[in-house]
């Protein structure tokens, strides 16, 4: 999980962040805004880019590299694989402040996280589409905030469109991550698994096989 990278003396700790929430609440848009500072009004569903990374400095000696997993649409028919939750260090559960039902869905995703994700996972609740608050708000900020406080979640209202609170959301998560153990592991840096990619075969075998 943890690895040392340049520049010198700064330890970078890899952490897995998973996104959850109903379809079309803006999960991918939040990531796109955070990682690439882009927004696309007509982005329909998640294709092709469901694994992005972004490094955030925590202090002068430590950075967190967030490996951000998007659902790739597998949440739509309740078909997210257990693999998605494995080793997740943090999660953002997103709802749409213009859709009351999406907060209820968010609450059930949080239950699912508590069932499937590792203990101690840092969870943030994000009410997205804050840019539409004036005309179409359907979830009161105070209600969602009270729920988040009770469930011990970080809470932000965000707008992927205007970028409001997007960096704040990810930064707050990075700051709340318990990194002590990871730091110690990183200093001891032993990678236990085998690295298949480093042992890439010299040439690709032809289409035929021997059976």
């Amino acid at each position: 999980m943890a690895s040392n990278t340049a520049p010198k003396n700064v330890v970078t700790i890899n952490q897995k962040l998973v996104l959850l929430g109903d379809s079309a609440v803006g999960k991918s848009s939040l990531v796109l805004r955070f990682v690439k500072d882009q927004f696309d009004d007509y982005r329909e569903s998640t294709i092709g880019a469901a694994f992005l990374t972004q490094t955030l400095p925590i202090d002068e000696n430590t950075s967190v590299k967030l490996e951000i997993w998007d659902t790739a649409g597998q949440e739509r028919y309740k078909s997210l694989a257990p693999m998605y939750y494995r080793n997740a260090n943090c999660a953002i559960v997103v709802y749409d402040i213009t859709q009351a039902a999406s907060l209820e869905k968010a609450k059930s995703w949080i239950k699912e996280l508590q069932r499937q994700a590792p203990e101690g996972i840092v969870i943030a609740l994000a009410g997205n589409k804050l840019d539409l608050a004036q005309e179409r708000r359907a979830v009161e900020k105070a209600d969602a905030e009270a729920y988040a406080a009770e469930a011990n979640l970080l809470f932000f209202e965000t707008s992927a469109k205007t970028a409001e609170n997007v960096n704040e959301l990810f930064t707050a998560i990075a700051k709340k991550l318990p990194l002590e153990d990871k730091l110690n592991q990183a200093r001891g840096a032993v990678n236990r698994g085998v690295n298949l990619s480093e042992a890439r075969p010299a040439a690709q075998p032809s289409g035929s096989c021997s059976c």
């Binding site: 998640t46 294709i47 092709g48 880019a49 469901a50 694994f51 992005l52 990374t53 790739a72 649409g73 597998q74 739509r76 028919y77 309740k78 078909s79 694989a81 257990p82 693999m83 998605y84 494995r86 069932r115 499937q116 236990r192 698994g193 085998v194 298949l196 990619s197 042992a199 890439r200 075969p201 690709q204 075998p205 032809s206 289409g207 096989c209 021997s210 059976c211």
Partner: protein, 440 residues
Amino acid sequence: MDEEYDVIVLGTGLTECVLSGLLSVDGKKVLHIDRNDYYGADSASLNLTQLYALFRPGEQRPESLGRDRDWCVDLVPKFLMANGDLTNILIYTDVTRYIEFKQIAGSYVYRDGRIAKVPGNEMEALKSPLMSLFEKRRAKKFLEWVNNYREDDPSTYKDINIDRDSMESVFKKFGLQSGTQDFIGHAMALYLDDAYLKKPARETRERILLYASSIAKFGKSPYIYPLYGLGELPQGFARLSAIYGGTYMLNQPVDEIVYGDDGVAIGVRSGDQVAKAKQIIGDPSYFREKVRSVGRLVRAICILNHPIPNTDNLDSVQIIIPQNQVKRKHDIYIAGISSVHNVCPKGYYLAIISTIVETANPLSEIAPGLKLLGPVVESFSRVQEIYEPVTDGTKDQCYISKSVDATSHFETLTCDVRDIYKRMTGTDLVLKQRPKMEDQ
């Protein structure tokens, strides 16, 4: 699901998920359905609740075994060859980024009533207790021939015509005893029976080379294994498919395949919904009338609270019991894994035994395997038919995979993947490196 797709895939076994991923990457619009509420079909790894539901319906899982989610129990005893084709596909599709692998610590073979480590190369053969001193020198000569053979250099042939001379005659030429032939043919070339002896030597040489090159990759054994169990493999390829636009529906009943007047499949019905597609892929359980049984497998999953005896307390092993050693016609395989692979809680070990059924009493056929395990906390066994499709699918556009077979690895499965891919698309599968996500 009331839409039109290029391909509908039924069942989330590994073959189906690899094909789904490859076809989505090719730009095909894929709908992937499973009647179960979990990924993997027969190549799933189950938690305790799912395991008990499958093997002992109605029975509560014992609290003493701990938390449900700490268990990922494979249904089949298979490992990946480190230098095999599945490893290759994993690397080229970049699915390796979702899955972490560990080595299997040792590979053992049963001979004359005890188990011993399988030599991986000429040097190890010289140290092996499996052979007498003179036999070791003969085995070393044989393995040197395997390794040094070059197509373009007849001086390396050693008077063997690899496409004409039978493996039996090659063994004879090197003077190898039948016990040595057993472990070379069954524990290195990984044949399930002795039919290979009558066939030309080429394939056996290639299989031994794959074994040796797989060992050379990471040491210890030729095998690697995914953390959290084999079920991670179908999940990883399903994720690949989803990332490239594939739609996933678990827990979705499949009521019928819909055909046109000409007998060509045009879609799949689930309840009152019909999804249309030009081509349909599925495992045999979705096409009962289009598959035939080619045999039966008996498998037993055993939970232990100790390492398998006589394996140097290793955390993971493969044990092969060659057919001749226990007067059978097919080998018995045992796969041993443990908590270091995150498949069970600390202190527990899993051993999965399997063989091809030869008698009317299949459960008794795995007894030689059970005997090697020592005390067992809990065991689950079942007999399964092995199916293959009756036709190649080009007429009715139904491409049916073969059942998960008795081999100890995934080489036959990737052959099936490549074969189905070619039948469906008319072209050989060529693996291209995916562009890195960060670059997109």
